[in-house]
Amino acid sequence: MLDVLNSFIVELRQAGLPVSMTEHLDAASAIAHIDLVERSTFKATLSATLVKSEDHQAAFNTAFEVYFADRVFNDDGEVDENDVSGESSESPSDATGLKGPGRPMGGGGGSAMSAEELAEMLANAIRHDNKDLASQVAKESVSRFAGMEPGRPVGGTYYLYRTLRNLDLDSLLEELLEEQRAQGSGDAMTSLQERLARDELGARIEGLKQAIEAEIRRRLVEDRGAEALARSVRKPLPEDIDVMHATRDELATLERALRPLSRKLAVRLTRKRRHGRKGPLDFRQTVRRSLSTGGVPIDPRYRHPRPAKPEMIVIADISGSVASFARFTLHLVYAISSQFSKVRSFVFVDGIDEVTRLFDHADDPADAVQRINREADVVWVDGHSDYGHALKAFHERWGDEINSRTSVLILGDARNNYHASEAWVVADFQAKARHVYWLNPEPSSYWGSGDSIIGQYAAHCDRLVEVRTLRQLEQFVGELA
């Protein structure tokens, strides 16, 4: 048992979770207190002792599913490899000879059940929210559709995709919804009811998807062992996802992580400002305090300092290559905008436009970012990035607004499609502004390769930072204010 725990913790550490020695010991001693047969208790126990941040929970869950997929621990703490996932005797999957060591990994066909029967079973499982039936469906459909090949070093995403494509769950949802509509007592469903029914069915189908995923994972573990699989399914923690190459799911994760992050930053910055230094002596307060100590001013009081807030100008490239990056940065900039007396934002592709007003009227930065993509007038010739022209245009129209209190923040990869760089504009910024920062979402090893002319601009920036992940972004903004 302790060995398994040990290798599990090694896996967690490799996935990036900071698990300390103390936590390892805690987990080990906690296990002694619980009933190991209860898998959910076991999971909760490990999670309580090992995971100390919600962002890490997803990584923990994945690792847990892999390591403790179907192992059960008996009272001696020995690993019992028996399959206990409840393949009940009347389960139709028994007929396909799924048990036994030499079973085919998903031999398509050969099942006693026809496709129609499976579809009917699936519909029933969803319709009646029947968990047992759903897990049977999951087993059956995985062996039928996934086409798993033993020994391949994959994480199972493709198997999942193949299975889901064959089940066609989207149209199932519509069908069942239609069925419920028909059942309704004659009158049409109100849109509220429809929405609720849709969400309910959606949740059940989501449950089925998870069952299928778990089933695939279980078979992969059987095939290749937990450690090998854990390596394949390991995903970066939210704060380490590369923004430029994030998948859609990862982007959603990022978006969720961004909101608390921007709030945290704002809090941290206010505190930093407030406690940064002490103001002048507050004579009145000091005298008043001294009354309680017999007129001796033991406890001097100071006025709160009111540091001047800097102004900030953000110039972001929103061309296709860095769009997702710009989106995140704009979000974050607006989250901390209360820390700056004025934030003006500009976006460009090959033309440039001011978008400050779009943020002013939006409660929600996400709305604003959408509107920017729709409304901002940023295309000048062909819609390919032209930093030179955009910067020059900025300089002509707004160049005078940069003064010694302004910080200029430029976001982009400086891939200029071989146009002129016009780096003198940046040099001019540097001469006039307090700071010029450049955030580049590309890995620094790519800088200067191909059409990247970051080197020409870098000479005129106070700092050039590689910002590929939330962690780097957070760090930069923290230092900025």
Binding site: A30, T41, S47, K52, T190, E194, E200
Partner: protein
């Protein structure tokens, strides 16, 4: 922990059961963590969105164990004298003056006097010390620990790991019984590794539909099962939307209470839209939600 100790709970199922008896519906994670907190004698750090019952958990645990709840509300600028202990300066001053008046030239017995004024009688106990010194069972709740500065956090470490407080003039005060400790955090800043390491971590998120329905049913007496079900479903749909502030459990309960007061048995679209302002706190959220619920999507 060498001698046989008496545990508060047998197993996590019992925790869940007892919590349910005081109207707190715990899921597996909550029950197991509370159970482990007792067994391992470790504090629990509870994190999660506002209004999901973090503080209530501590209150309920106190209620079911029959313990007194000692609460330390954290805020920015909280310091030692507010969290741990403080010498009662004025009383000490009076004591000195009294001795001077009474004895006359009492300069010889200064050491005696010093011993006297740094006595427990001159100590003002603050929540942390109070929890340590308590002889009866207590539950210590350190609320919104993320609001204090990083330096103040360090003050709590001794209490949290050793269950003791060191007072230079008096020595170390050790706990006679180990209190259950809950720390809550709204995650407005990252807590220090040192603090996290000493605690069990519990993330309390939004409950799933079934649990939410049960919570509504327990917390709102006289609600019909159908209404509770509908409420739970609507709230789930709302949480799936992209809102600035998703409705919390406490807001759900408020909403359920309102609907009961209004005498509703079921909710139709009109009721839902009219009372949405109880669930949602931003105008833009309310507009978006009502548009989506009534199907008039922009």
């Amino acid at each position: 922990m060498t001698e046989k100790e008496t545990w508060r709970f047998e197993n996590s199922a019992q925790v869940a059961e007892q919590l349910a008896a005081v109207d707190y519906l715990a899921d597996e994670a909550i029950a197991s963590t509370v159970f482990l907190a007792d067994r391992l004698a470790k504090p629990v750090l509870v994190e999660g969105p506002a209004g999901t019952g973090k503080t209530q958990l501590a209150k309920s645990v106190a209620e079911l164990t029959g313990a007194r709840l000692i609460r330390l509300q954290c805020y920015e600028g909280l310091d030692e004298s507010k969290a741990l202990y403080e010498w009662n300066y004025r009383k000490q001053l009076l004591r000195i003056q009294a001795s001077q008046v009474g004895v006359g030239e009492g300069s010889s017995d200064w050491s005696e006097l010093e011993e006297d004024i740094f006595d427990e009688a001159f100590l003002l106990t603050r929540p942390l010390l109070e929890a340590i010194r308590a002889t009866e069972p207590v539950v210590l709740l350190i609320d919104e620990v993320d609001r204090v500065e990083l330096e103040t956090e360090a003050l709590m470490l001794e209490v949290l790991s050793e269950y003791q407080v060191s007072i230079p003039e008096l020595g170390t005060v050790k706990a006679s019984q180990i209190p259950m400790v809950f720390l809550t955090s709204n995650n407005t800043r990252e807590l220090s590794e040192a603090l996290k390491r000493r605690c069990l971590f519990l993330h309390v998120g939004y409950p799933d539909v079934d649990r939410e329905r049960l919570i509504v049913e327990t917390r709102v007496p006289g609600i019909s099962g159908e209404l509770a079900e509908q409420i739970a479903r609507i709230v789930r749909s709302l949480r799936a939307m992209d809102l600035r502030k998703a409705p919390s459990v406490s807001e759900t309960i408020d909403w359920a209470k309102t609907l009961v007061v209004l005498g509703k048995e079921t909710i139709d679209e009109k009721d839902a839209v009219e009372t949405l302002h109880i669930l949602l706190k931003y105008q833009s959220d309310i507009e978006r939600a009502s548009a989506e619920l009534t199907g008039t999507r922009r």
